[in-house]
């Protein structure tokens, strides 16, 4: 294993060792959403013809869990290492900023995909969405988790303690994921909020991912792809630049 591969392996092992907290927990939470919202709204909400509300919810919940967990992986690992002081072991190594980036974001993608697939697998017990375009779904899953893994690197570098990261998670990540159309189609919103939703990159990640299941979406999947690729590249470059600067980790 080369240097970055070892760091990637360590980062994967870090969440795998505490799987009850990092994998099973988020899957259980998503299932509770599915049970509560699915049961409560199944007969009241119809988003697409021929698709039950519970089936509609499944991809959105899987993607939401995937995004949140990809973010949590890189951000919490960096913050914990900073708070514990053990980041110094990495800072002393010859690993380049690019190596750090690939390892941290790579592990975040793995955790995102593991949780996302886990949610999907368990949700199939409740409703089976058609897998119309599975490659589209996979593409959005990988891009979405890479974007959130990169954002996690940014948040992890910026945060000096767990409170900062919690603020980032509670006031940025959570609202954007909840307001991205996980639980509804944005066509059901008033025009103003529809417009606002179009500025939320999370909306494109969820909508593009959902296209992979139903073959229909609120906006063209190509538009979603263009937005998500651009956002991933932008946030990725941002994270890489902060690593190059040694932002808040090298004086």
């Amino acid at each position: 294993m080369t240097g970055w591969q070892m760091l990637f392996y360590k980062e994967v092992l870090r969440f795998w060792r505490v799987g009850a907290q990092t994998i099973t927990g988020p899957i259980l939470t998503a299932m509770l959403y599915l049970l509560v919202f699915g049961q409560a709204l199944e007969s009241h909400v119809k988003v697409y013809d021929d698709i039950s509300y519970t089936a509609f919810l499944v991809p959105g919940l899987a993607m939401m869990s995937l995004l949140q967990n990809a973010f949590a992986n890189s951000s919490s690992s960096l913050v914990a290492s900073k708070v514990m002081g053990n980041l110094v072991f990495l800072l002393l190594t010859p690993l380049s900023p690019w190596h750090w980036f690939v390892a941290y974001v790579g592990a975040a993608v793995v955790r995102g995909l593991v949780v996302g697939f886990g949610v999907l697998a368990v949700a199939l017990l409740f409703a089976v969405p058609p897998f119309a375009q599975p490659l589209w779904a996979l593409l959005f899953a990988v891009l979405g988790s890479a974007l959130m893994g990169s954002l996690g690197v940014v948040a992890g570098l910026w945060s000096e303690k767990f409170d900062h990261m919690a603020a980032f998670q509670n006031f940025a990540v959570m609202p954007m994921t909840f307001l991205s159309g996980v639980f509804y189609s944005i066509h059901s919103l008033p025009p103003f909020w529809q417009t606002v939703s179009h500025f939320n990159p999370f909306f494109y990640m969820i909508d593009g991912f959902r296209y992979g299941f139903f073959g229909v979406s609120d906006v063209s999947p190509w538009l979603s792809l263009a937005v998500v690729v651009s956002a991933t590249a932008a946030v990725g470059l941002w994270a890489l630049q902060l690593l190059r600067m040694g932002y808040k980790i090298r004086n």
């Binding site: 760091l7 092992l13 514990m84 053990n86 002393l92 040694g246």
Partner: protein, 313 residues
Amino acid sequence: MPAISFQSVSKSYPSPRGPQGGTFLALNNVSLDIEAGEFFGLLGPNGAGKTTMITILAGLAKASSGRVSVMGHDVQTDFAAARRALGVVPQELVFDPFFKVREALLFQSGYFGVKHNETWVDELLDYLGLADKSDANMRSLSGGMKRRLLVALALVHKPPVIVLDEPTAGVDVELRQTLWHFIDKLNKQGHTVLLTTHYLEEAEALCGRIAMLKTGQVVALDSTSALLSAASGNVLRCTVDGDLPPELASLARVTGRVVQLPAKDAAAVEQYLAQIRQAGLQVQDIEIRRPDLEDVFLKVMHQHSGRDDRVAL
């Protein structure tokens, strides 16, 4: 080619202590070369800039000006090669609670691109008395064991240059001896060692050459023997049963009841004893000895005890 080279290195930080826009100059134009194979000591009071020098050397901080290299590799422009040549034992007792001792050592080897390092890792564990803890979580180690693990982590990639930042702070005597025996052995094998410590007797016993730092500047740089032999005169060591008069207290090293005073000649000794008696104090256990490194250190620091003008430059 020196193993470690500092060339006109300065480091300033924004200072909350200075007036608006003030800076704190932690290092002021430091130049220092350490040759391959040396056992070099970096001494100085707290805040003198020792740790700043090490953080710049290790790439944990960037010098404001000047150039630092390890085995000829610039620590900024050629950081990967510089860090491969360097093993740093940090001052803080840090650990990763997620992993076991042996795992951590193998991860660290991997980060340096060292493959199949099991044999050397086991040797390190053995040398440092951690073999029976190899499968223990790092969290469960005692302070002394964590310190030894930090040494092992710094050596996984067999670096030619080893830096120890106060490795024996808060460490018991037995462990200190084990550690020094090991480091001395590595030095004899050709590794360059840079040590910072507050235990001056350790520095005197181990280091071939010493730099003394004060307020970010090198104020003394010579071989340990030259520093000791340059200290003229002797030292009067005695026990007294009360506080010394102020004119003596300013010259003395005082440890509890033990007082040590620099004495040029016999007349100075007589003078001191007379002054102590005049102050109504009882003198016991009188001893005249050669100066040690601590005496030299105190003298050098005293000579450079000008105002600390680093704030708000």
